[in-house]
Amino acid sequence: MFLYEFMQRAFQASILISLIAPMLGLFLILRRQSLMADTLAHVSLAGVALGLLVSINPTWTNIIMVVIIAILLEYLRMLYRTYSEVSIAILMSGGMALALILMSLNQGGTTLNINQFLFGSIVTISTQQVWMLYLLAGIIVILYIIFRKAMYVLIFDEETAFTAGLPIKTMSIAFNVLTGVTIAIIMPIVGSLLVSAILILPAAISMRLSRSFASTILLGIPIALTGMLSGLFTSYEYGTPPGATITLILLALFVIAIIVKKVMKQNQKEKITLKEQQ
């Protein structure tokens, strides 16, 4: 299977996505923005439809569209501070509606392309996409190393972060934009319907098993790698859709993590009871 160039590219993409997913995913979960990835993926679809309609490379229209919406999301989040999910609901439905209208204006010949963006195709990744992913992963890792302390304080409590002198608005917008660009780049690979699952699940699993912030991100990487690589193998062997296979494997890992955690807690309780009896 590794003799095929498309599989080599697919594995490279999987490894790179596994590297960035836990970092972005953990921040999204802790900022209560897990659904933001979904929103941006829906809006992304509108960006793709726009690109196809005006015959421009959809990746670029996609990136521009998600950057605008990522900024708008932060504005709406501030406006509905207590009900921040309202901004997600508004933009998710708005993005989907816009995508459907743009698609209907562009009837004939583009169904295949739209399907590819909806469901993803990890096995038809171009060399250009792999290079974009290398660049993106490099930027995200460097930004994480530089700003991890500031991000920790920001997501722990925004008000404390403000009093500590952090530019919380700029940081929030920059994070949203980075998430948007990531989604725009990985969406053609994993599909807009599953992109949020692939970003969120590794961090969600890792949160169940880790104690510290740093270990949550570190453990998230092998979890994401396990899901992505085994999903790719399974998909190749059985001809199932890659994005969906990866998501199901990550979900299975999530269930296993919950069970393992429960068993560990039970064992700990039993040990304490035994100690008390002695």
Binding site: L30, A150, E159, T160, T163, A164, R211, A214
Partner: protein, 238 residues
Amino acid sequence: MFYIKVADLSFHYEKEPVLTNISFELNPGDFVMLTGENGAAKTTLLRNILGLLKPTMGEVTQSPTNRYGEKLVVGYVPQQVSSFNIGFPSTVLELVQSGLYQRGKWFKKLTEADKDQVKRSLESVGLWEMRHKKIGELSGGQKQRISIARVFATDPDLFVLDEPTTGMDKKSREEFYQLLRHQSEIHEKAILMVSHDHDELRNYCNKHIELVRKEELPWRCFSMNSCRELSKPRFSSL
């Protein structure tokens, strides 16, 4: 010099006035107790002072530097932090260490002296042994003490504390007040603290601001009695 100067501050939620005619100064070495009945907009006043809310009228001036000419560092302990309750993946040690970052450590490694400071802060609230615990596993009182340890690790010039002793027993409260008094009298730190423990706290602080409802004011609108000096034995003479 002042660290905070509040001049004729008024604040309205939508169009409803909740605070009016608030003026005082917070200077290095001040330990100010802010009291008032429930709903007296004490937290709202703190949030105006910190810049989290914008006064409707009047102004709040924060000194950019401390009395040594260095950047003024503010340590804030809010009444509630929701991250404590949503399974935020962090150990006690990580959280307390994060208090040091604003001391110019955003992009630098913590030194041995910094780590000692964290250790002392955790020991001062009696939680050093729990440093590897996940913060979500702590009790309400322990979470409050972690917030206090974090702010002590920051070693701020100005402490802004919103009911930090909720959930603490009497002995822990008294130890905490002693620590604060030490900070204000020996290290000239400024402290503004919202509290309901009026009777206990008045033995430790040197000024008292009470938010009160005056007859001439609209319903739900609070103003202050003058910032009263409290007579108490100085720490050094105890």
